[in-house]
Symmetry: C2
Amino acid sequence: MYGLIGKMRAARGQRDAIMDVLLASTGAMPGCLSYVIARDPADADAIWVTEVWTDAASHKASLQLPEVQAAIAKARPIIAGFEFQVETHPAGGFGLAAVKNE
Amino acid sequence: MYGLIGKMRAARGQRDAIMDVLLASTGAMPGCLSYVIARDPADADAIWVTEVWTDAASHKASLQLPEVQAAIAKARPIIAGFEFQVETHPAGGFGLAAVKNE
């Protein structure tokens, strides 16, 4: 599996607007096992996104999905930057969506 | 919801042993919506754990579960330390387990 943990910084006061875009655009995507969008309670403009994919290729392909492209276009102007991102290799745990064999 | 993102450092060469303990002990826990255990591909002794709970109380209560206590006892001697931990307030996304109403 392939994972990403990232911290995004919203333009001042725009966190909820970005959260709305992300939440509205996040549904089942091919190869996506988990995608969690969270506020940072200690940092008013920060958003944490944690992702698990079957592999890096699935994640890369998702960036071309029309709904993801639309979300990126909407959110980009109100994102101040990305402060932290780490790739991970998830091994298991609880709550990972089953992958459809298709 | 209540989330945690943490980076744990294994004693040198003990990462897989810790992963085995964590993976074996992680099943359905009351209030747990997601619990993902991952290797850091860029840091040979590092483990990332990302968690989503219904609330902070569920997470706190989980630490008293017998299987969690047993895992902590097994892993503690081979954990070198915790380098990073942030609390989050997950708002939604994809792949969060349904919560049983009980």
